[in-house]
Symmetry: C2
Subunit: 469 residues, 2 copies
């Protein structure tokens, strides 16, 4: 694999901007090639685009000062958290300054009585949960990667717990945002509900840094459940596994996690995480609640699984075994990549209404079986969301083309079923044509919003919508 | 009471607009005085402002044609549902055409397998629930009044069930919207989650008709719980009732409803609904779930109430008795008004983080006791939301002034506690100064949004933000 694909662009920033940023940040400004390269790519197959410089602010005020300095000189700005996005979100398509917010890692406040917390954007979900350990509370949103809360808010992330606890859309109570004009705003208070004007919180959640930079996030927390039980259940077919999920959701069972892995993915997980599960379509379950309520949930779901030919549940016996199970699920992407050393991942991310999920997955599996590519399928199926992971050599045009062709079919199928092209990864620069297919005329409204808030197109330009068309 | 306060304004619409609307709608266009008067007021004390004409479209396409006709002549447009809003939302401050959407009452689709439904904007929540009766599903958002789903979406309404089922923010999956330019857009699909671009659904939810007109609403439904139990519990003091709620929420009990009524409100309810409850701070509870899960919830909450000096729960014995209890709660506003025949209501609507609720309510009660006004207090206290109902003669400047003075104190107190000036009623033209106090610099961003989407300020002008300042 060649990386970077092109020589590092030589596109110096305005000298007075460099001087201003150095004066503000000292050694927390850099234009070192290695750092620029690292900040121009995420975990996907998308070609990297390095920024011209990287800065490491520590406070909202520093971010605002950087934004004002860049805006005055019309230099693009790209926010960077943990770099775990999957659609080229951090690529500096037009160069500019990357704001690495990982140093903004203060936990500003935890309020156990209100079950909420405020953190700086660079705090990762694992760090927040480690910090919460003694409070009896946890932050449930769990995209697998140890992403920052700022990044998760910016991409409207979710993950395995969303079926019960919702996504970042539901989790975020308020944000501190630096606008493209360098103003600092707070999008809401801490009340659990409000009808006070336009929902700026939800506008910035999922805006991928294109309307302003998120510097602080206030999130809802949840009580750690009294009882947690996790189990694995293999099925004879994809349809039977998915039907079990559909019936579980339709029965109103408040299941905490229900994850699908197809046979190829189970094989990859067995190899990568040294496990011995059956190589067949499989569901991973987790149940939360009081002992009696968990027992009740388990009984219903077990019966539904048995109706669909599922084997008996294999329970995790200890918290350690449970952690190992979910670690195996969370490393599914890396396990798939390990099937072809040196390959890159390309993940689809469609989400459909639950009644269409069995059809959508079965038809997709048929497409994949007919292809020569290495693929796996994993899914947050309780939400109707699944990922086909294409494990490809990005330098092989035939593989890239085949993956693209299949992905187009998957997206078209999901949209025809009233679903979405992305359940949780976002648009970045990788899915802009799908966004257009999905939203049609509504894209004009999105462009009006972008133009109104960022008229010079300086905030993560070239992502979600393009103004230069 | 004098109504209308001023003579009906004589401000004819452009004759070619009238001709175009009559050609489109025939008798579904009217400028009859009585109809205009009826459409210029809501259920609040705010002075009415009649529109210049009222039209009754039946389809999204008719709405789009009306919008294009009005926009071309720069005539303001005001949407009207059931007229149950409380902040002057429907007042035609600058005249124009009122679009009464109550005739858009088709239930477009109910999809039991996906637990969602699509309805035209004029369908009321009671009608939707009546229609759903045989599906085992229900639509939980319940603002008391039999509002339309379009109006509820536009004001981000909630009500008694929000503590468990969320507000319109969580309930709405997608909207059909006619933009100020007369385009028809759909803000989303039916997937349970999506990261596909800016969250237009949440932008329009709560936008009060100022960014476009909602013509169809797709909402999540929920399974009718197997067991429903409702109870009443009187307390010695406001603080003890509220502490019970705080402890219930903090214990993670998924209570379906928990409503607070102060002693004055209980007196009003007893009189209006012919009941015999103790005249003391009281909680109304409702529990949903499987029989075992409900029993478990009830045991915890009963113990928490007893710790706070609550009397034993008085259970409703039959579904009819339960309906009567909630009818009494839902008519609390009218019960309060009946304390002073001929008076008008003026409702505060603050919402605070739950840990501050006891302080906020206790301090507010002290303010009210020191005042000469007739007031009651009701609250969706599980969310931290409560209403002071001022029952005043709007023609008495001293009463109006005193109510305003107290309301300013209540709002300032809630904002100081990181709460909001409105939990569920919205801004309309009644709370614009409070919106400014709450959002500060973020109001500039709201103005940019309004200007971007409705540059001529024709959609419900003078609500939420003013562009003419």
């Amino acid at each position: 694999m060649t990386f970077p694909p092109d020589p590092l662009p030589d596109r110096p920033l305005p000298p007075d901007l460099v001087a201003a940023l150095v004066a503000l940040l000292g050694p927390r400004f850099t234009s070192a090639a290695a750092v620029r390269l690292q900040h121009g790519r995420d975990e996907s197959y998308h070609p990297p685009f390095p920024p011209d410089a990287v800065v490491y602010p520590h406070t909202t005020e520093e971010v605002a000062a950087i934004v004002r300095a860049c805006a005055a000189r019309r230099v693009p700005m790209i926010p960077f958290g943990a770099g775990t996005s999957l659609e080229g979100h951090v690529a500096a398509l037009r160069g500019g300054v990357c704001l690495d917010l990982s140093g903004m890692d203060a936990i500003v406040a935890v309020r156990p009585q209100d079950m909420d917390a405020t953190v700086q954007a660079g705090v990762t979900r694992k760090r927040l949960n480690a910090h919460l350990r003694d409070t009896g509370l946890f932050f449930p949103i769990d995209p697998g990667a140890d992403a920052t809360l700022g990044g998760m808010a910016a991409t409207r992330a979710s993950g395995t717990n969303a079926v019960r606890y919702g996504t970042m859309r539901e989790a975020v109570l308020a944000l501190t945002v630096v606008t493209p004009q360098g103003e600092v705003i707070r999008t809401g208070g801490r009340a659990r509900k409000s009808s006070a004007g336009y929902d700026l919180t939800r506008l910035y959640v999922g805006s991928e840094g294109t309307l302003g930079l998120i510097t602080e996030v206030t999130v809802r927390l949840h009580g750690i459940p009294e009882t947690v039980m996790a189990a694995v259940c293999p099925f004879p077919s994809v349809a039977q596994a998915v039907n079990t999920v559909i019936h579980t959701i339709q029965a109103g069972i408040p299941i905490a996690r229900v994850e699908f892995l197809n046979a190829h993915q189970m094989e990859a997980v067995n190899r990568y995480s040294r496990m011995n599960h059956a190589v067949t379509p499989t569901l991973f379950f987790e149940f939360h609640g009081s002992p009696a309520h968990v027992t009740e949930q388990v009984e219903v779901v077990r019966a539904l699984a048995a109706d669909q030919g599922g084997a008996d549940f294999q329970w995790t016996a200890t918290p350690e075994e449970r952690d190992r199970l979910w670690a195996a699920r969370h490393t599914a992407y890396y396990a798939a990549l390990a099937l072809r050393p040196g390959a890159k991942g390309f993940s689809s991310d469609v989400c459909v209404p639950i009644s269409r999920l069995a059809d959508c997955l079965t038809e997709t599996e048929a497409d994949l079986e007919a292809s020569s590519l290495t693929t796996t399928v994993v899914g947050h199926v309780g939400d109707g969301n699944f990922h086909v992971l294409f494990v490809i050599d990005p330098d092989d045009p035939a593989q890239r083309e085949e993956a693209n062709r299949l992905n187009e079919r998957i997206v078209a199928r999901a949209l025809a079923m009233e679903g979405t092209c992305t359940g949780e990864h976002g648009i970045g620069y990788g899915k802009m044509s799908h966004l257009e297919a999905e939203h049609g005329d509504a894209l004009a409204v999105m462009r009006r919003l972008k133009r109104a808030l960022d008229p010079d197109d300086l905030m993560n330009p070239g992502k979600i919508v393009r103004l230069d068309l």
